[in-house]
Each structure stands twice: as C-alpha cells, then as structure tokens.
Amino acid sequence: MSNTPKKGFFLTRWFKRTFLGHDQEVRDIMKEEQVQTPFRTMARAFFSKRTVRIGLTGFILIFLFVLIGPNYWVLDLSEQDSTLINLPPSSDFMAVPQEMNGNIVDIAAGRTYGIGVATDGKIHAWGYTRITDKVDIANIPKEVQEADIVQLAAGEDHAVALSSDGQIYVWGNTRLQQAKFSSDMTKAMKAAAKGEKSENWDIIQLEASNQFSAALSSDGTLYLWGNTNMADIKIRSQYQGNVAKVALTSNEYICLLKDGTVAYAGYKDKGSPFAAIPAGLEGKTVVDVAATSGSMAALTSDGEVYVWGSSTSGEKKVPAFSQKVTAIYGGRAHYDALLEDETVVSWGNNKYHQTDVPAGLSGIQKIYTGNFQNYAVDAGGQLHTWGLSGFLLGTDNLGRDLLTRIVNGGRVTMTVGAISVIIATLLGVVLGGLAGYFGGKADLLIMRIAEIVGGLPFIPFAMILSAVIGTRLDPTQRMYLIMVVLGVLSWVPTCRLVRAQILAQREMEYVTAAKAMGIREGQIVFKHILPNVISLLLVSMTLDFATCMLTESTLSYLGFGIPLPTPTWGNLLTGANNSVVIQQYWWQWVFPATIFGICTICINMIGDGLRDAVDPKSQER
C-alpha cells in the first residue's frame, strides 16, 4: 500500500525526536490513517492486484485491436481465392535472394513464390514454394540446375524452364499432365539436343498458367501443353505459324499475330467473353498483349490499352496515362503498364497492394509480373518489388486472410457477448428486483421460472432454439437471435443474486427511512436499493461477459451460432478438429484459439479482481 509511513532521513528523525519529542512521530503515524470513500477503497484494492493490472491491460489491448482493426483489415464476405488456400504465416513471397540483385536473367512470379535465374546460371526459388506435402517448387531438379537456363515461367503449381540448347524442363506438380509435351515438341527437343537448328524450334517466349504452359517459337509456331480438361489449349490451324506473342489467362490464351491483330486462337470461342475482342481494336496495330486470370488486354501502337474478359475486379478501369504506354504486363487481377518515360502505372484489384507502385520509381527497363507480385528492374539493374509479400497469420481453407478474419471475428464475438450480457442483466435485475422486493406470489412464480430455465441444459437448448427459429432468418437476424437466446437463457444467476441482495437490503434502516418518507415502492427498489447492489452486479456482468463469449463461440463452433461466412472466434475453429488441420495447418487454429483464450482469461482475471475488491471478505480466500 502506498500509505505506509515514510521513514525519512535518520537525521530528521533524530531531530524530531530530540526537539519535538516522541509524540510527534506517533502523531505522524496516526495521520496516515486517511478516511477513504468506499469507492476509492475498492478502486485501490482493485488496481493494486497484479493479476488485475495484467488482465486489464490485456483486455484493453485486445478490445482496441478488434475495435479499430476492422477499419484496416476490411472484411469482404465474398472473398475467396483458390490460389491462396492454406498458406502458412509468411512474409517472404517477394524476398529475392541478395545474389540475384543486379544480375537477373529472368524472373517468374508464381502463385506464392518466385523463381529466378541469375547470370551465373544458378536458379533461385523464394517465397512459399510448397505445393503439396510432397511437391515443392524449391526442389529444382538436378538437370535443370546443370542446364544453362535462359527463360523461366511459373504456373499455379508447376514451373517451366528453357535452356539455351532448346530443352524445356517442367517441375513441381506434374500429375495433371503439366509435363506432357506433344510429340512435335519431343521430336524438336531431341533434334535440338543434337545441335540441329530448326526453324520452328527457336523458343522466344515461355509462359505458364493454371496447369498448362505455352512456348512460342520465333517463326510463329505456338506450342501448348498441360491439363486439357480445364484449359482451352488447342490452336486453330489458320493462326498456327502466325503468332508473335501469347498471353495466358487461367484457362484461355490470346495471341498477338504477326500482322498486328489480336486473335482468340482456341476452339472454345463460342460465347466466351474472351473471344469478344473489342471493336475499337479494328484497324489499329497491336504491339503487345497481356492477360490476368480473368481478362485480356491489348496495347495498340498509338498507346491505347483495351481490356476485355469476364473479370469484375477492376482491370477494365484503364486509367488515363500521362505518357505513351510501351509495354503491358498482367498479374492475377491487375495490370502493369510501362510508360515511355520508364515509369510504371498499375491498375486493377488492389486487395494485396498489387497496384501500389512504389513512389519515385523511374528508369524501369523490364517488369516481371505474376499473380500478386511485381518485380521491376531499373537501368542500374536494381530490383524493385511490390505486391503481396505474404500473410502475417496465414490463410484459411478458402484463401482468406486469417488476420482479417480474426480481427473481424473478434468484433462480432465481443458485440454478441456484450449485448447478450446486457439483455441477461436487464432481465435478471428486473425479475430479481420484483421477486426480492415484493416477495409472496411474485417471488414464488419468478423463482420457479428461474429454476426451470436454470435447470435446462444450456448448450442443447440454445442449439434447438437457434435451429428451430433460425431456419427462417437471414444471417444478420440470426446474429440478433443468438444474442437474445443467450440473454434469455443466462439471466438466472443475476436474478438470484439481485433477489438475495434485495432481501438483505430490504431490512436496512435506509429503506425504512425511505418508506417513512412515502417514496413509492418501485422507486425504493430501483433508486435506493439497486445502487447498493450495483458493484456486485458489475462483478457478475464481467464474469457473464466471458461466459457469453464462450457460449457464443461454442455454438458457432458447433454450427448453431453465427453462420459462415461471417467470422466469429468460434466458427473460425469449426472444422479444425481433424488431424490434418491440427498438424499441417496449425496456424488456422492456434491463432484464433490463442487470442480468444487470452481474451477470456483477461476478462476472468478482471472479474475475479473486481469481486475481491467489492467483497473484502473474499480477499482472505
């Protein structure tokens, strides 16, 4: 306690004792016995406990985090991305090794990884390179390491490399025909290996996408291979031998022909939005093509950019360029344009900051774009990166950022907990007040109801209420329903507490005095007695808050609380109870469980401390 008497310097003490007598020192000690209001005693007892201070700090931090956090990590309920599922916590998707800097031959940006080849012929892989348990892009095959690689391409789950002697290598996931070359290609490669030069096997462009790849020869022959079930990877004969550049979406491709026109060269062009080449391109010379997963773009010789396709995430909103565009590059849902003054303009989806081009970027010679990553090389050979560098807490099974879901889920869980506590407290206070003060039949009735409600097994009953009533409600209404159900089922302890307190307080003198003054009964209960009970009520509210949060999360965990996709701390853990998730995707349950555990522990610490402070007798316990 801070009011222990100060000893003071020994000289002053000696001085006092000698000249003022012992009496003075004694009186000093007596002076320390200050009179405190009960509230101050409580507050002091409350804050003096270490557990309370820890709990309070922890809770306030978490509370502020979930209160303010959703403004930064905005929740998008419809969000999902098949390329980003089950990623562990990481921040190295663009961590290009230091030895690559300044001597880059080629870089390819894959799903969540990057591969690059340096001038010394060494191939590097960085980022999250694991595709499945067994398959890892970073396991670069020996023959690729030994070959003199000049070009790279990275697809969803496979990587492609071209060596200077005309050999194409594929590694990564090859179970879906990603490495199944056509007979023409194998023949050409065999010939190239013998050192024979051939017209139609002089590969100038290598591309890879969702389970398929493309290679383009300088004479205009396009080779496509991969999973034929998904992608449109055949080429109509009138275009073969005529292709100048190719760009791949996730299941289609677009060709820039040698005559400066653009053509959808595949067979699945009927009704496809990709085959609907904009009318504005007619009569103009196209110099570059690019594609995102759901759109295609063409650049004309006069610097205009046209975008078409099925995408809805903003790639079609082409910005006005200050300079002439010289080249365009496509990521998964965004485009980069290199301007004549060697600066970069980016547009499209910006959820992962793919289009946040660093300020002051100039002198850019070449851009490598793929998925959500951008690598730009300037005149000095320096590498600049922007885009998705990783997920701090990983992603879930639908490719959603876990941090965003935890922050927003916390807000929902806390809101539901708080409102149900308020409902429960209101019900408990009113019913307990009535029962305690009026007694008799009202008491009997209310306490019997309380006994029945209190006797019902909580979780099963809440489940049936949620299931029976909730079937006709939309998700928002269902959230309100959960609040009401929790409130209506948990008022009993508060009611008992208030009743017992009022029974005790009713016999006090101040109530008799109030009665003598002719104050109405209702006024006496709620205005005179209740303030004396409020501190105990506060304790029970705090502890109930933790309980309600627990119950909500339990219901959500079982699937009878707040329905997905609205996140709560409970339903984030739904489906976590299988060994695959527990072991391999540990971040999906460890992080929500940790923050939720810490939060409830903090609240219970505060509640315990509050109870000890309010009821001094319990401090001895």
């Binding site: 006994e451 029945i452 006797g455 019902l456 097994p457 909580f458 979780i459 099963p460 009953f461 489940m463 049936i464 209420l465 299931a467 029976v468 009533i469 079937t471 006709r472 933790a546 627990l550 999360s553 339990t554 965990y557 079982l558 699937g559 009878f560 409970g570 853990l573 976590a576 109870n577 299988n578 060994s579 527990i582 072991q583 540990w586 349950w589 469980a593 939720f596 555990g597 409830t600 522990i601 609240i603 219970n604 610490m605 315990d608 319990s618 001895e620 316990r621």
Partner: protein, 339 residues
C-alpha cells in the same frame, strides 16, 4: 425425509410436463407437414381435387388440425391417439427418426450407453481430483502450489473446452501419438472376446475423458477451495484446534463436512454442464454419443429424434436436481427439519 422426497418428486413431474410442453410447442413452430409428406409419392396419380380431398382426410386422420394441447397430450401419452389407444412417451413411444428410418428408442440405445459410460468416468475422475485438490489448496492457502493451481484452474474455466480438446489432440494424438484422434473403436477391428472390445473402447475414450475432466476441473476446484477456506475460518475450527484435535480430524471431520453444503449445490450446475459439455466433446472427437446424435438430428432436421434427446437432457437435469436435494437433506439436518 420421505415426505420431502415425495414433494420434490411431484414438483419434478410438474416441471417435466412444463418443459416438455415448451419443447413440443417449439418443435411445432417448424414448418413441416407430415400429411403432405405422406401423400407426396401418390401425388402424380391423382387429380388435383382428388389430391386435395385425400390431403384433408389424412390431416384429420393424423390429427394435425387438433389444438396444440391435444397433440401434445397425445404425444406424451395422456390422450387417446387416433386409433383409440394411448401411445406416447409415457407408453415408451418416443417417435420415429426420419434420419435413421427407425424408432427413436432403437436409435438412442447405443449412443446413450456411450454417453453414460463417458460421463460416469469423467464424473468420478473429476470429483476424485477436484475435492482433494481443493481441500489441499485451502489448507495450504497462499503457498506456491496453491498459486500454481489457481492459475491452472483459471485456464481451465476460461478457455473453451473445444480449444482444450484441440490442444490435447495436438499433444496426445499428433506429437506423442498415444491416443487415436477420433472414434469409439479401431476401424475394422474384430474382437476375440468382450473384454478386448471393452479395452479398445476404453482406449478410445481416454482422451475425451481427460479433456472433459480437465475442462470441469477449474470451476469445481475453485469452489471447493473457497468453501473450505470459509469453513476453516470459522470459530469452531479454532475451538477444535484448541481442544488439541489432530489436524486431520479438524480438516476432514470438522471443516470439510461444513464445506460440503455449498459444494453440493454447485455440483448440480456442474453435473449439467458435463452433460451439455459432452455435446462439444462428442462432436470434436466424433464419438457416437447422445450429443453427437443430437447435433446430427438438428443438422438433418430430424426433430422427433431431437425432441426425444432433449427430453433425455431434461430428465437428467431434473433427476440431478432431485439427487442434489436429497443429498443436501442428508448432509444438512436443518433441511430435513424445515420441509
């Protein structure tokens, strides 16, 4: 005592009727029409007006147009059914499960035995641990062991049980590989004798029981401890010590018997929480128990099954409260005198 028990029994029957009425009316809120369901297969072969007439007839036949209270009394078995017999819950007819295409009573048998099996184990374990632990902590209040226990029990009741289950699964099933992750029996196992079957089952439910025990440890230990501290601070303890009684006698005979009163009241709430907690445990560990069945029933909208299980839960809670009341009377003579 006999009169007291009788009074409680009457009260329980009344409460059971009220709760079941509540549940039944809740169940009737669900938009479902058994008559239409019954007629659906023949609908194609009938003309619309013919179908409508048949539908009306069937509704009357099934008694769907009767008032709620009549249907309730029929279901519970206190009103003559359509064929003139009493055929309800009291006669042992709990309805028909649409999910399992079987009578509910048949569906429930195996899960019920599993649940009771698990709950008995975890109840014995919990009481066996919490009571000595609480007493020990109260006697050694403020010591290091006590403080450590306080922290652990705080964790136990703050962290939701399914998170505890996940952590235990991670440790025991994946890191140490001691227990299987889920299920009540080894897949495809054939047993030579029933003893082998029993040990296999025991092996599978060990982890759930541990988790359940751990989850219920927190609240109970704290309760026992605080009741015990209250009792130990009484004057009669000082008297007992002054008389020169052995410390053991003071604690177990004088203090503990008085601390028992508040502990017993709290056991009811705890007993119920174990049963509703088993919904979570059984789901997490995929155990074939009542909780899992309840969850399945609710998910598949098999409400006759759900209603029957809900009745089971209500009966458990009511019998639990009866047992608590009786033991309360046994422990505290004043209760017996009063009522």
């Amino acid at each position: 005592m006999g009169k007291y028990i009788l009074k409680r029994l009457v009260y329980i029957v009344v409460v059971f009727l009220i709760v079941s009425l509540l549940m039944f009316s809740l169940y009737n809120l669900i938009p479902s029409d058994p008559a239409r369901q019954e007629l659906e297969p023949q609908r194609r072969n009938m003309k619309p007006d013919e179908y409508e007439a048949a539908y009306r007839r069937l509704r009357v036949q099934m008694g769907l147009d009767d008032p709620l209270i009549v249907r309730y009394l029929r279901w519970i078995g206190l009103w003559k059914d359509m064929d003139g017999t009493f055929n309800g819950v009291f006669q042992g007819n709990f309805g028909y499960s649409n999910l399992y295409k079987q009578n509910v009573i048949e569906v429930i048998k195996a899960p019920m035995s599993n649940t009771i099996f698990i709950n008995i184990f975890s109840t014995i374990l919990s009481l066996g641990i919490t009571i000595p632990l609480g007493i020990y902590c109260a006697v050694h209040k403020g010591k290091r062991f006590d403080s450590a226990t306080q922290v652990v029990t705080m964790l136990g009741y703050s962290i939701p049980i399914y998170i505890i289950a996940l952590i235990f699964m991670f440790l025991f099933c994946i890191v140490w590989r001691i227990f299987p992750v889920m299920g009540t029996k080894t897949a495809g196992a054939t047993y030579a004798n029933s003893w082998e079957e029993f040990t296999d089952k025991l092996y599978h439910i060990t982890l759930p029981v541990i988790v359940m025990t751990f989850g219920s440890l927190g609240g109970m230990t704290r309760y026992v401890r605080s009741a015990m501290i209250d009792a130990l601070s009484m004057d009669y303890i000082r008297t007992a010590r002054a008389k020169g009684l052995k410390e053991k006698v003071v604690i177990y005979s004088h203090a503990w018997r008085n601390a028992l009163l508040p502990v017993i009241t709290s056991i009811l709430g705890w007993f119920l929480s174990i049963f509703s907690g088993s919904v979570i445990i059984e789901n997490t560990f995929s155990l074939n128990g009542m909780g899992k069945l309840y969850w399945q029933g609710l998910n598949n909208l098999d409400f006759e099954l759900v209603l029957a299980i809900q009745m089971f839960y209500s009966i458990v809670s009511l019998i639990g409260s009866l047992l608590i009341d009786i033991s309360y009377g046994l422990v505290d003579p004043r209760v017996r005198v009063d009522k």
